[in-house]
Subunit: 192 residues, 2 copies
């Protein structure tokens, strides 16, 4: 998606350790006009698919998912939580995910009340790198008996293995910007 | 706002310890149609005010704030973060907040790049009880030199002191549903 690529080139920055910062428009400050254009593009890419619900993961996925839901008939958005809370009770689906960014394992939790067996879901997230968080969501979908119709990613780090593994496993992964290569010293970003 | 009150009566549940669960439509599963109606109502309540930006706090505020921004001319949404990360660098505004729900203190962090002195902001959150999180956001706004035009809350626990204190301090707090009283044993909810 050219608009997202252009925005990454304009406002994104590359930091050492293959860190791409897009916090000016995607995951700290949010550009809802851009999110709407992303939603329209995913609606085109996933047209013809049944989407009963959008599933994402806190925190950065939530804003994107809510705006995107408007382009899929205002379906409900469910966001997986990363911490237990007294507000989370009852039966839960739970998977464990290792975060390289935070250097620790965290849980991914969804209340069983919000995933009905047989529902068709679209998974949405801001980033796909090694795919650990997405595999956690897929594990929960499998346990819940819901059908993963597709996976919409804003920015995929194409040089890491997450996207390749998911596509090889048969998932319909649509990333709106795929980074082929980036150079922390020069700040250069190349798209696939 | 009658639609929100009706929804709380229909899908909300009261748990011991004055816990009101609205996770079916507000803060775990999200009803974006309801969020749009809430946005339209806040646009009416805050009409005539200058809103350059919406500021909220992760995670539950993000989806509401992004949908609501569409009713304020698609202004940017900034969400405060609750944990440090390697993705958060550079100069930050930071406040400390005590959470009764999680029984611990956590930081509220906003990058200095996303609050410009002189900007007019609208604060949005899903819940207002004792007001600790909102005071954290206000501290950051004061430090940044931005003007708090108003505070939009989905559900206010009117029997706790947060809303009263903020209004007495001169803030324009507009809560779409104010709980006057709730009874965990009977599951009864009364609105102000």
């Amino acid at each position: 998606m050219k608009e997202l690529e252009d925005r990454i080139l304009k406002d994104g920055t590359v930091k050492p350790g293959d860190v791409l910062k897009v916090d000016a428009f995607l995951n700290h400050q949010c550009d809802v006009t851009l999110f709407n254009h992303m939603g329209a593009e995913w609606a085109r890419l996933f047209s013809g698919k049944r989407v009963d619900k959008i599933l994402t993961i806190e925190a950065s996925g939530i804003g994107i998912a809510c705006i995107v839901a408007q382009h899929f008939g205002n379906v409900p958005v469910v966001f997986a939580k990363k911490t237990q809370s007294i507000n989370l009770d009852g039966d839960q689906y739970q998977a464990k995910v290792y975060s390289y960014t935070k250097q620790k394992e965290f849980p991914v939790i969804v209340s069983k009340r919000f995933l009905e067996p047989g529902e068709h879901v679209l998974l949405i997230d801001d980033f796909l790198a090694n795919g650990k968080a997405m595999h956690g969501l897929i594990d929960i979908c499998n346990e819940a008996g819901v059908i993963v119709e597709g996976i919409g990613i804003a920015v995929e780090k194409g040089f890491q293995r997450g996207g390749k593994e998911l596509r090889e496993a048969g998932y319909d992964v649509r990333s709106l910007a795929v980074i082929k290569d980036m150079d922390g010293d020069k700040g250069a970003i190349k798209f696939a």
